[in-house]
């Protein structure tokens, strides 16, 4: 991962600011952010986890959402770079996965088996609170972050945290909890919709997600709303077939 292009970074900031002024869907926003982060730093995959009210990390969005990657996030409810960044509030940078088996006995071998070489995690901080972590996977040797890259990726993580605070939240501390719990539940709805679409169309859950996401984009609808409608109405829009 070479040093970040200032131009591309600026365009991401503009896109983020543009998203945040309108009414936006948090999960859509987090997907966009993980996509752009992966692009920007040339990462193989980027994902984001948020802590639920019980202190467990849950996967929320990724630049890629295949089953293998989801497993790597699920493992991190117990061990791994996200959990470390979340617990310590410090970024975990440039960890060589092939040498990290002692540190993360379950996570590191699985990540290596999935083709990743390096991993990084950045805490999602909101004032004094840590609410989750941004996870970056690299698949080339020697593709480490430079000293200049680190604060840039951290600032992308900070943006994700800020997105959780909508206007009214600034007035009430409870609103963050309400928002977070709502987003965690929306993520569950997406998984349920993936299952329904996969079974109804005889495709894999990965393919089902791609179809749901494309449908939402093509119809300019929120991912969460589309997933909700798919599960509640039990009617599959024709484009998903």
């Amino acid at each position: 991962m070479t040093t970040v292009s200032a131009q591309r970074l600026a365009s991401i900031f503009v896109e983020v600011a543009d998203t945040l002024v309108e009414e936006f869907d948090l999960i859509d926003f987090l997907h966009m952010l993980t996509d752009r982060t992966a692009d920007l730093v040339g990462a193989a995959a980027v994902g984001l986890m948020l802590a639920d009210g019980r202190g467990n990390l849950e996967f929320m969005a990724g630049s890629d959402e295949n089953v293998k990657l989801l497993e790597l996030f699920q493992l991190q409810t117990r061990e791994g770079p996200c959990l470390e960044a979340y617990r310590t509030g410090q970024a975990v940078i440039n960890v060589d996965l092939s040498a990290a088996t002692a540190r993360w006995p379950r996570f590191a071998p699985r990540a290596t088996a999935s083709g990743f070489q390096s991993v990084h995690a950045f805490p999602l901080r909101l004032r004094s609170q840590v609410i989750g972590a941004l996870n970056v996977f690299g698949d080339t040797k020697g593709g480490d972050f430079s000293g200049a890259d680190v604060p840039i990726v951290q600032s992308l993580a900070d943006m994700a945290a800020i997105a959780l605070l909508q206007e009214r939240a600034l007035r009430r501390g409870e609103a963050l909890t309400e928002q977070l719990q709502g987003a965690l539940n929306s993520r569950i709805v997406i998984e349920q919709a993936k299952g329904a679409v996969a079974y109804a169309n005889g495709v894999s859950v990965d393919e089902a997600f791609t179809r749901i996401r494309n449908y939402a984009r093509n119809h300019n609808r929120k991912l969460t709303d589309v997933a909700q409608a798919l599960v509640n109405d039990r009617t599959t829009p024709p484009e998903l077939d």
């Binding site: 849950e58 998984e191 349920q192 919709a193």
Partner: protein
């Protein structure tokens, strides 16, 4: 995390059971939650997407009244938590709540309620009801109380999903992992619910209940059952 859930299940089991069955179990949940959450009362209401709603259990008669108030007046934190699919946490009922719910807030205040915390009972799109926590003093829920309240809500969700199961069996004590513990296969469990919903041509709530019932009868973990469903090795027939 899990220690906490075990502790809470212990508190619920320690409540004196009367009639048995799910309603009685949920009354125990409500009563255990009062002490654990420094509440003055708690209530569980069951709501359905078709608009039907009723108070299912409460820790005491006054809380049952406050719970019913929202249905009489058609507004309140409980209904909003259900509609918006997220908790509604009101640390001071005398504050903004008075304009937010001009009918409900003064009535609840008259009955001594100073703070209300409403938690939707749901798993994704499967919505079952709301768990309400009332306090006679204003102030936010601490982080620990919040975590514990979410845990009580999970237990209530499990009990409501299992309510069609034989009411005579010991409530709340299935040997397999619950909603909270099924961490390792979380995504798969929810995907399986979506698949089974299509298989049985039912609602997502029916699907979640069917998977739990199957796991219970077969004495297998929810995670294993979900894995088989997603892998296509297990499917459910429409019409039970």
């Amino acid at each position: 995390m899990n220690d906490r859930a075990t502790m809470i299940r212990g508190l619920i089991a320690a409540q004196p059971a009367r009639a048995g069955g799910v309603v009685d179990h949920l009354r125990c949940v409500c009563q255990a939650a009062v002490g654990a959450l420094s509440a003055s009362g708690t209530g569980i209401s069951v709501l359905a997407d078709d608009g039907s709603r009723s108070v299912y259990a409460a820790s005491d008669p006054l809380s049952e009244q406050v719970e019913e108030l929202q249905f009489l007046l058609g507004e309140g934190p409980c209904l909003e938590a259900f509609d918006r699919r997220r908790p509604v946490l009101i640390a001071n009922l005398a504050d903004e709540a008075m304009t937010r719910w001009p009918g409900y807030a003064p009535e609840a205040h008259d009955r001594g309620v100073r703070a209300v915390f409403a938690f939707p009972l749901q798993i994704g799109a499967a919505r079952l009801g709301v768990f309400d926590v009332f306090r006679d003093h204003p102030g936010r829920l601490s982080d620990q109380h919040l975590a514990d309240a979410l845990c009580f809500a999970d237990i209530a969700v499990e009990a409501l999903l299992d309510r069609q199961r034989d009411a005579a069996e010991a409530p709340g004590g299935p040997a397999h992992d619950g909603v909270t513990e099924a961490v390792a296969h979380r995504a798969e469990l929810f995907q399986a619910q979506g698949m089974v919903m299509v298989q049985i041509q039912g609602s997502i709530t029916d699907a979640a209940a069917r998977i739990r019932a199957y796991a219970y009868v077969e004495n297998r973990s929810l995670g294993q059952v979900a894995h088989d469903i997603v892998a296509g090795d297990l499917r459910f027939a429409a019409d039970h």
